[in-house]
């Protein structure tokens, strides 16, 4: 309780300084949270360029919303990431429904995966597999994709997903289940699962 209060106080002070135009304080916020926001953006966009653009947009919006931050309602990390998730999902839904063009990326990655499959460097293999998984996620229907990302990558609870997506919990569970099955089928077609 004492630690939480201290965190809230330091967060409140940090935000106050940011709002007063203290660039050092704002740099601290950016340094602390940009990686998490970028990862989140990349899960949804599947592209580094788009993820960078979205991360930048999120931080601009976060700064302009700093006056809405209430230290009593939670720490800065939760508030900022909640805002970032909402913005990323809004952007995802707005760009919407147009599937990400990742076919070229997929082909490239399949090729590289096969060429690196016997490589001794497990780190490289893991990195390649991660790229394949992201490519497979990008092939999911958008409603399934957002649920799978929020549950299995962002590791949110069902209730948090309900709050963000504003859909019933039964729908969330159903979409997560169907999303996982669809993703498994895609990964199998990509021979990613088979190679495990």
């Amino acid at each position: 309780m004492g630690v939480d209060a201290a965190v809230s106080k330091s967060d409140a002070e940090l935000v106050r300084r940011c709002r007063a135009g203290d660039s050092v304080a704002w740099e601290q916020v950016v340094h602390e949270y940009s990686r998490r926001v970028y990862n989140l953006a990349y899960r949804f966009t599947g592209r580094h360029e788009s993820a960078e653009d979205l991360t930048q947009e999120v931080f601009v919006r976060v700064y302009r919303s700093l006056e809405q931050y209430d230290p009593q309602a939670g720490d800065l990390a939760n508030w900022l990431m909640r805002l970032a998730r909402n913005l990323v999902i809004d952007d995802y839904r707005r760009r919407g429904r147009t599937p990400t063009d990742i076919s070229d990326d997929l082909t490239d990655h399949e090729y590289h995966l096969e060429s690196h499959i016997d490589a001794p460097d497990r780190g490289v293999e893991r990195q390649e597999r991660s790229v394949q998984v992201h490519a497979a996620i990008a092939r999911l229907p958008h409603d399934l994709r957002e649920c799978v990302i929020l549950r299995d990558i962002e590791e949110l609870s069902y209730q948090e997903i309900v709050d963000i997506l504003k859909i019933p919990i039964g729908t969330v569970k159903s979409r997560i289940n169907r999303g996982r099955i669809e993703l498994a089928k895609i990964l199998r077609r990509m021979k990613v699962v088979e190679t495990m």
Binding site: A20, G21, R35, N39, F59, D152, I181
Partner: protein, 295 residues
């Protein structure tokens, strides 16, 4: 007995440990029995494991470039919204804006065209206000009297001001519709008089001369009628006398005979002639009377 559809629908619940013991047993039994569902289950489980690896993985290597980009994009000017800028304008013009806020304010001013235009408009308005403040406006001359009248009444007012106030009080009802209509008619009459006669003096002189002419004509007509009546009476009395005297009427002198035709209009009756006729007839009258008296 769990079928394939039910099995696949409950995979996530099974992995999350949400299934009851009975359902869990049915799930396990179906997995052993159905090869296709077993493959699906294994694929899903591996997929979830891979997603977990992805979650733990950082897709971003070096953050410095991204941080710099964010900081550049969220420079002071970008960070300040136009609404915040509006709220700071008053403090800026009052000179009470704090240094860090001023930097943000200034940066936003540089980057936002809309707010630059707003500031230019405010600058212009302030300059106009100061111009107005420096130049005195002439006070209406009547304002002093109005203030005096409203405060101390008519005392303290000049004679002219009192007359003027009285005139204003008198003229005030003219603004009612009836008085306004009357004033309009009066004004139209004045206009007509001026356009017709060139002024009241001309109109009066012309009217006077016409009235004089009419009076003279009337006088002449009355005189002429009187003369005619008098001569008729003389002729009648003379005839009566003659009849009484010798029963032979005497011829009427030509001067006493009734004119054959009377003038019908003023033009047929020149003014210069009438008095002479009248004088002659009036002159003749005493002779007749004298003659009568002598007789």
């Amino acid at each position: 007995m769990m079928d394939c559809t039910k099995f696949q629908d409950t995979i996530t619940d099974y992995l999350d440990g949400q299934l009851e013991t009975c359902a869990r047993a049915e799930f396990a039994a179906h997995r052993l029995r159905c090869r296709a569902c077993r493959e699906v289950f294994n694929d899903v489980r591996m997929t979830v494991e891979m997603l977990g690896e992805v979650a733990a993985e950082d897709v971003l290597g070096e953050t410095a470039a991204l941080e710099n980009r964010i900081l550049a994009a969220t420079s002071a000017g970008e960070m300040l919204s136009c609404g915040d800028f509006d709220r700071l304008i008053e403090r800026y013009f009052d000179g009470v804006i704090l240094a860090p806020t001023f930097q943000t304010f200034q940066a936003h001013f540089k980057t936002c065209h809309k707010c630059r235009r707003l500031m230019a408009g405010i600058d212009e308005a302030i300059a106009l206000c100061s111009e107005v403040r420096e130049s005195d406006v002439e006070m209406p001359p009547s304002l002093h009297d109005r203030i005096m009248a409203a405060t101390v009444g008519s005392e303290g007012q000049s004679v002219f001001a009192r007359w003027r106030a009285a005139a204003v009080r008198f003229a005030r009802p003219i603004w009612t519709p009836q008085w306004a209509a009357a004033a309009l008619i009066f004004a139209a009459s004045l206009l007509f008089v001026y356009s017709r006669f060139g002024g009241f003096g001309e109109m009066a002189s012309e009217a006077g001369s016409r009235a004089g002419r009419l009076v003279s004509e009337s006088n002449e007509a009355v005189t002429q009628t009187g003369v005619m009546a008098f001569s008729g009476f003389q002729m009648f009395s003379r005839r009566v006398n003659d009849m009484l005297r010798d029963k032979e009427p005497r011829p009427v002198p030509a001067s006493l005979r009734t004119p054959t035709s009377l003038p019908q209009t003023a033009e047929q009756l020149p003014l210069s002639r009438q008095p002479r006729k009248a004088e002659e007839q009036i002159v003749a009258e005493p002779e007749g009377k004298k003659h009568k008296q002598e007789r």
